[in-house]
Amino acid sequence: MSGVSGFEKFLKIDRRWIFLAVGVAVVIPFFFPLGLLVDVTPPVQSLYDAVDVLPPSSQPLLLAIDYAPATLPELEPMALAILRHAFSRDVNVAVMTLHPAGYGLAERAGLQVAEEYDRVYGEDYVYLGFQPGTSAVILSLGVNIRNVFPEDAYGTPLSEFPIMDGIRNYDDIPLLITLAGWSAAEAWVYFAHEPFGQEVGAGVTAVMATDYYPYLNTGQLVGLLGGMRGAAEYEGLVGHPDKGVRGMDSQSIIHMLIIALIVVGNIAYFATRKSKKLAG
């Protein structure tokens, strides 16, 4: 009988002990990195390949940084890795956002990587800013980019940027990548890929990633980065390991912890139920 109450007591421990365990499991790998290697999965590889074939100093990659601060740790590493990939290959980039909170985040990602690679604003990349209305914005871009963004985020007319010369609509954008923690990624598929045939790649949070596999399978998305792991894979491909790769050690440890908790919790649960049945 002591076994029963032991299990029951065990199941009823203050959950703050579990919180503590999680905290410790996250922090430790930061100080003692395991340095595990991350394999590359096909959805990430195909997005990388799509960026890798873009011609240098030609039509720009349109990068829609549609995330908000709530999903920053998952999606910002993707933005940095993709920008590094593009800038290291001299690919022009136009950055924009569909989320008002993405305004400052898109700006900071662009500034950071442009500085790393000595890229000049206006010659190698432009920041178009934010426009409200998700589906209406995406559809308008298909008619004429200048309808939506007559000027960049700082009020300079697009005509003053040489890299936007002759860029009229999706016909002149070889690839579009959206990074979003909400349905914006789907909206790009509906309103840019379906009517205009625009090639779309996406980076989404892991919560959303499994729901996007049907789009990947049909080619409605050329590639997909799912969560921090997707970012880590892309960082590995670019050869510039950063926050994504660094996070993978902690991720490994906590996943083990959670699986152990599920297993132990279930054993304890069934043990108490069985003994209750016997007793009753």
């Binding site: 703050r16 919180f19 999680v22 996250v26 922090v27 930061f30 100080f31 709530a70 999903t71 920053l72 740790p73 998952e74 008002p100 909170a101 305004y103 400052g104 800013g129 934010f130 426009q131 409200p132 589906s135 209406a136 559809l139 308008s140 200048r146 309808n147 007559p150 000027e151 985020a153 009020g155 007319p157 598929v189 509906y190 309103f191 890929h193 379906e194 009517p195 949070t205 892991a206 919560v207 990633a209 499994t210 729901d211 049907p214 789009y215 399978n217 049909t218 409605q220 799912g226 969560g227 921090m228 792991r229 926050k243 660094r246 996070g247 902690s250 991720q251 906590i254 996943h255 069934f270």
Partner: protein, 278 residues
């Protein structure tokens, strides 16, 4: 200065984490602060990015054709129409004329509803169907194709039987259920091995069979116009299996997602704020 602001960010981060101990004034302070700050941020971003260049400037300053380009090449009076409609939305705060606010709302709601219709049909239904009308055999060699087809169908028949039959025998005991799962997994794996020995294309056709049957099952599960008996019942049971595996994948990914966010914040505290790691 940077250190000052990073410290502010770190203190706010820790205030949020204090909720783990229990709800407290620090958490509530940060929670309410962010409600106000984000609303203010959004308002300003909307104003400078949209309202100012597209409504205020062309309408009130009449700077059309000067150094700013009005939206969609509209004339200033054209920009006036949506601007006025937009202002009408605010009539809802005045109970006597609140109904006027429904006019712009009608255009807004109807317009966005219409925009979505066809692209959704195209993206979510037609393209998905096209991708799922798969060649089940998918191999040139007709003998291999037939073998694959028969193997695939028999694996499925066994799995369906096990799930349907065991289910209808009542609750059953845990051990039997676990046995069913293990057995189905073993059969599936053996089938997979057998197919991969035959040919690589065999695996492809098994995959295709699973995709077709899985979609069929899932759609059957969400079919409400008939009782779930007979073939429909069996398909719905298979659908449940696929749905649960799919949800399991989402579950694993969601856990991953939440943990990534925590890792990101811990990285911020240890790296950007305390500089304990490089």
């Amino acid at each position: 200065m940077t250190l000052f602001w990073t410290t502010i960010g770190a203190i706010l981060t820790l205030s949020i984490y204090s909720f783990l101990y229990k709800d407290n004034p620090f958490y509530k302070f940060a929670e309410h602060l962010v409600v106000g700050v984000s609303a203010g941020y959004y308002l300003v971003i909307y104003y400078w990015n949209y309202i100012d260049p597209n409504v205020v400037t062309p309408v009130f300053l009449l700077r059309v054709g000067a150094d700013r380009i009005p939206l969609l090449g509209m004339d200033w009076w054209m920009a006036l129409i949506p601007g006025i409609l937009g202002l009408l939305l605010y009539m809802r705060f005045f109970p006597k004329v609140a109904w006027v606010g429904r006019w712009p709302l009608g255009i807004y709601v109807g317009g966005y509803a219409g925009l979505g219709l066809s692209p959704i049909m195209q993206a979510r239904v037609i393209t998905q169907l096209g991708a799922n009308a798969l060649p089940l055999a998918g191999v040139e060699d007709p003998f291999a194709a037939m073998t694959n087809l028969v193997l695939g169908i028999s694996i499925f028949a066994v799995m369906t039987y096990l799930f349907v039959a065991k289910r209808s025998m009542g609750a059953g005991n845990k051990l039997v259920r676990a046995g069913v799962i293990v057995l189905a997994a073993v059969i599936g794996y053996v089938g997979y091995l057998a197919l991969s020995l035959l040919s690589n294309a065999g695996v492809v056709s098994l995959t295709n069979i699973l995709l077709v049957v899985g979609l069929l099952g899932t759609l059957s599960y969400f079919f409400f116009s008939m009782k779930h008996k007979g073939l429909l019942g069996g398909l719905a049971r298979v659908g449940i299996v696929f749905l649960m595996v799919g949800f399991g994948a989402s579950f694993g990914y969601t856990v991953m997602s939440r943990i990534s966010l925590l890792i990101g914040r811990v990285g911020f505290l240890l790296h950007d704020w305390l500089h304990l790691i490089d």
